[in-house]
């Protein structure tokens, strides 16, 4: 048989790994045919919504629901008292704490859920909420974690014994009633000794402010209890649908096979949709009580005030070095503000996430990290906003410490990084705080970045600008922001990563159809990352069927194999690996079938793009399409019919994407307005599956980084009132405020990942935040600036200039 098209054409036809395949998701999204949770409409569906506490800390003396129940269309008002007999007035959090579903005796943060009004439509629910009368007794409010650790005011009375004793928490001993845990990594005494005896030490305290992932779609769900069949179906904005199913089963007592959790299209997640929220529990209860489907959708204020803040880390660092800039030790202490409940979304053994990646990309021989978690009267959450667990905090910390050390050493910060990078030949590299970095080539990336932006030229221009400023010729300063980041993503090995005891493997199940198309289902769920496009590309390359002939399905726990979901850039590292491994199982069976069909031994055929060929005789082959048909329709001795495979992949290690970013910024000293002149982002995410999608992820992550660095915050006043509850005040930049970005890459494949991929969705955020921040700070370095806290909004930049005397 003569091949009619070339091998190259056969490769192209697959649209496999490495090509910028257009997204299959886009047809429905561009035509308004996405299916998000609020698009779901069921017969007889009711609406539920919350009465929320206006106070950040208050005793709840009484709840009177009578007037609300008089509103036409209001069917029920649930309070903690109603949930208590079911044991559902509190729920477990992802962090081993428990959280009130509805305020049980007191409210611990503004916006806390107090009562759930269930009505025939959203109008009646809203009217009912207005008429629920709650009698509050205000209590002293603590919004500062340092004050919390000194205060006599006990926020969580449920966690203190009657004798005042403080029982251990989920992560060990607690020092104070408002203390949650102390978590350590590294070696305390040796680190302190190194620093005490070092030639140079730089110290700095920094606050990584509280912010919020704020996806454009808020959280919500529809719960539908089918009492006839005893099955509960729960649609919702879940980044981890299987975990939600298990949690719902554990807290409701409904057996897991009777619960079907469906994540439909999700309008962005960024970490907001990992956790379990009171709205989910209340909707389920309301559906069980009423026998009707119940929908709950947050409004934007609810979203910003209650579900899933991020960051809020007070970090104090010491970094030591020799006089010529070789780093010798790093010490980090964090006071972590977790709000009223510890609901942080971290693997169980890591109450501060992977903060212990805070040695960054540098060969630091000795290090110590200590994190104290603290309760305050702020909303619970602590999610990983577009990053792996607390990695953004860690990278911000080290990238600021490097800059501060450079100031201390009077050294160029790019050079300081270069002389401390972990060298290519040191990988796999075990860091002082325990992680084994799988691979990296930092010097190559750094040199490429600096060369591309003409770093020396930029520094010369900056020096001239400083002269001009001093001479009164300009009122604009120029900042050069640098960051080099190493992420730790792809949680993770089951041996050390679980959430609520659920191992963090992931999965893929493939079913090849007789005519050579396929469906693959995964335990993850896309929120815009384009899984339906990229996972099909992985499979196309692995099994030799065109990506266009492969359907990817996620998010339905009745059909998808168990997996831990999508966050922490884990989809490609874990589920992507499972996909490749399942594909390889398909291929192994296909090899046997091909050999039978070609009448040769199994070992005499080899895979070639889209077929198996007889070794040494490429004209003799069977395409995967032919093999698929034979798998179902031809009796093959010793081989059972069908062509399916499933893989549950437990990664041997995390993956460690890295990158080099440079930002050039002009700052108006008089107004505090920054202008981003240039942003260069080099990412190394290992093997690149779809360059178009990678680039899109980088653009988006950088924009979220820009927002966080330059203004986005959840701010509280002293009374615990949220000051940034709408999109007027919570900074989401428009197209007007966002620059064009230059993207670039190097490729250092992960040695342990089946296809060498590392994950990229979060890198630009992790690397971007310190880069934008460093640009602002660098502009003021020539005038004595050492560190100022984010967010660098206009007035705070102005304050820096003002404090440096630049307005005199």
């Amino acid at each position: 048989m003569k091949d009619e098209i070339t091998r190259e054409e056969r490769v192209d036809n697959l649209k496999g790994m490495g090509c910028s395949r257009k997204r299959v998701e886009d047809a429905r999204f561009t035509q308004g045919k996405g299916n998000y949770v609020d698009d779901i409409k069921l017969d007889g569906m009711l609406f539920g919504d919350f009465v929320r506490s206006p106070y950040a800390h208050a005793r709840i003396k009484n709840i009177d629901t009578a007037a609300a129940l008089e509103v036409p269309g209001v069917l029920a008002v649930l309070t903690a008292a109603d949930l208590e007999p079911l044991g559902l007035h509190w729920m477990p959090t992802l962090a081993g704490d428990k959280q009130m579903v509805l305020a049980d005796g007191k409210a611990l943060f503004q916006g806390q859920e107090v009562a759930f009004v269930v009505a025939e439509d959203r109008y009646a629910a809203a009217d009912g909420i207005e008429l629920v009368e709650v009698e509050y007794e205000e209590l002293p409010v603590i919004v500062d974690p340092f004050e919390a650790l000194k205060s006599d005011v006990v926020l969580r009375e449920d966690l203190v014994g009657e004798d005042g004793a403080i029982p251990d928490g989920a992560h060990g001993p607690r020092k104070h009633p408002n203390h949650i845990f102390t978590w350590e990594a590294g070696d305390k005494d040796p680190t302190e000794e190194v620093i005490a005896n070092a030639e140079v030490v730089a110290e700095e305290s920094m606050y990584y402010h509280r912010t919020h992932p704020c996806p454009l779609e808020t959280c919500g769900c529809v719960a539908s209890m089918d009492k006839v069949n005893g099955k509960l179906t729960l649609w919702g904005t879940f980044q981890a649908p299987h975990a939600i199913r298990t949690v719902v089963s554990l807290i409701s007592g409904i057996e897991e096979h009777n619960i079907r959790v469906i994540s439909p299209d999700i309008g962005g997640g960024f970490g907001n949709k990992v956790g379990a929220y009171p709205g989910y529990v209340c909707s389920v209860v309301a559906s069980i009580v009423t026998g009707k489907p119940v929908k709950w959708i947050e409004d934007r204020m609810d979203n910003l005030m209650t579900t899933a803040f991020a960051r809020d880390y007070h970090m104090t660092g010491k970094i030591s070095a020799t006089k010529d800039g070789k780093i010798t030790g790093l010490h980090c202490h964090v006071t972590a503000d977790h709000g009223g409940f510890d609901a942080c979304a971290d693997p169980t053994k890591f109450p501060a996430g992977f903060m212990n990646i805070c040695t960054g990309s540098y060969d630091i021989p000795t290090a110590y990290l200590e994190v104290d978690g603290v309760y305050t009267n702020k909303a619970p959450g602590g999610v990983s906003y577009r990053c792996s667990f607390r990695v953004t905090e860690a990278v911000y910390f080290i990238e600021r410490m490097i800059e501060v050390l450079a100031i201390e050493l009077n050294m160029d910060a790019a050079e300081l990084r270069r002389i401390n990078f972990i060298k290519k030949e040191q990988f796999p590299y075990t860091a002082a705080l325990g992680w084994e970095y799988d691979s990296g080539d930092y010097h190559t990336a750094w040199d490429k970045a600096l060369k591309t932006v003409d770093y020396d030229g930029l520094r010369a221009e900056q020096a001239q600008r400083v002269e001009d400023f001093k001479a009164g010729k300009t009122r604009k300063l120029m900042g050069i922001g640098l960051s080099f980041f190493t992420e730790i993503v792809g949680a993770g090995p089951v041996k050390n990563c679980d959430i609520l005891g659920l191992g963090m493997f992931d999965s893929c199940e493939i079913r090849i159809h007789p005519t050579g198309s396929a469906i693959a289902r995964l335990g993850t769920i896309s929120q815009g990352q384009g899984h339906a496009t990229t996972f099909a590309q992985i499979l196309a390359s692995e099994i030799g069927l065109p990506a266009d002939s492969i359907t990817i399905e996620e998010g339905d726990t009745d059909t998808a194999p168990y997996g831990l979901g999508t966050y922490g850039s884990r989809s490609t590292p874990v589920a992507g690996a499972a996909t490749a491994m399942a594909g390889r199982k398909i291929r192994a069976k296909a090899q046997m079938i091909a050999a039978y069909l070609l009448e040769v031994h199994d070992n005499d055929v080899e895979f070639d793009v889209d077929r198996f060929v007889v070794k040494g005789a490429p004209e003799k082959f069977k395409t995967m399409k032919e093999i698929a048909f034979a798998a179902y329709n031809q009796a093959i001795p010793g081989i059972e019919p069908g062509l399916e495979a499933v893989s549950y992949y437990d990664p041997p290690n995390m993956t460690y994407p890295f990158g080099a970013y440079v930002c050039v910024m002009d700052i108006d000293v008089d107004t505090g307005v920054p202008e981003i002149r240039r942003f260069y982002a080099l990412d190394d995410c290992g093997t690149r599956i779809n360059p178009m999608i990678i680039e899109g992820q980088v653009h988006g992550g950088l924009t979220e980084a820009l927002a966080v660095a330059l203004g986005q915050e959840i701010a509280y006043d002293d009374m615990g009132n949220v000051k940034t509850g709408t999109l007027m005040d919570f900074f989401l930049p428009t197209a007007w405020e966002v620059p064009n970005y230059e993207t670039d890459f190097t490729v250092t494949p992960s040695p342990h990942h089946p296809i060498g991929a590392k994950g990229v969705g979060e890198s630009p955020h992790v690397g971007g935040v310190p880069c934008f921040s460093n640009a602002v700070q660098d502009a003021f370095r020539p005038f004595g600036n050492r560190h100022t806290n984010m967010p660098h909004d206009h007035w705070r930049i102005w304050r820096t200039a003002n404090e440096l005397g630049l307005h005199d």
């Binding site: 257009k22 997204r23 998701e25 886009d26 047809a27 429905r28 999204f29 561009t30 035509q31 308004g32 045919k33 996405g34 299916n35 998000y36 609020d38 698009d39 409409k41 036409p72 269309g73 959203r122 109008y123 009646a124 009217d127 704020c214 996806p215 454009l216 779609e217 808020t218 299209d265 999700i266 309008g267 962005g268 960024f270 959708i297 409004d299 934007r300 929120q527 815009g528 990352q529 384009g530 178009m692 999608i693 899109g696 992820q697 653009h699 988006g700 992550g701 950088l702 924009t703 979220e704 709408t726 999109l727 007027m728 989401l732 428009t734 197209a735 007007w736 966002v738 064009n740 970005y741």
Partner: protein, 164 residues
């Protein structure tokens, strides 16, 4: 509850008549009463533009309009802009240039862009960024949205030239 009003709308070329409370917001009319779920709800305070529709020739945030105000109006949503058999060049360009990710802002974004290109068939990048500033996107960083709109404009201008 207040007394219901008799409302008439023309949505995507189709006449609709129904009784509604005047406080019903147009976005809910579209999404829940008429099952036109392309326009979405993002912020509810007229900042995000996910609910953008065209009303009597103007781009409007339908979360900030009562159905009573819209009584008698002509409304176009993403569903009326193009479908599988007659895709609008913007719909094609957004896919071609990766102008979307989660898709949540996309219907409002494209609906607004149709109007922008109607008013300014040949916009500069700056004009696009300014003209699209009423629509927030959390995923793309806008770069590819700008690119998509530029591409659609070029496509539409070429088609227009060819027709002349």
């Amino acid at each position: 509850m207040s007394k219901k009003m008799h409302i008439k709308l023309n949505v995507n070329g189709k006449d609709e008549e129904f009784l509604a409370e005047p406080r019903e917001l147009l976005i809910y009319t579209l999404r829940e009463r008429l099952n036109i779920t392309g326009p979405h709800i993002g912020c509810e305070t007229s900042h995000c533009g996910a609910c953008t529709v065209t009303i009597n020739g103007k781009s409007v945030k339908s979360c900030t309009m009562f159905v009573a105000q819209a009584n008698g109006a002509e409304v176009t949503t993403i569903e009326g802009i193009g479908g599988p058999d007659d895709l609008h060049p913007l719909q094609t360009a957004f896919k071609e240039h990766h102008g979307l990710q989660c898709g949540y802002c996309t219907p409002g974004m494209i609906t607004r862009a149709t109007k922008l290109l109607e008013e300014n068939p040949n916009p500069t990048e700056e004009e696009i960024r300014f003209g699209m500033a009423g629509n927030l996107c959390r995923c793309t960083g806008y770069q590819n949205i700008v690119k998509s709109i530029q591409a659609a404009a070029a496509e539409m201008n070429a088609a227009k030239e060819a027709a002349e």
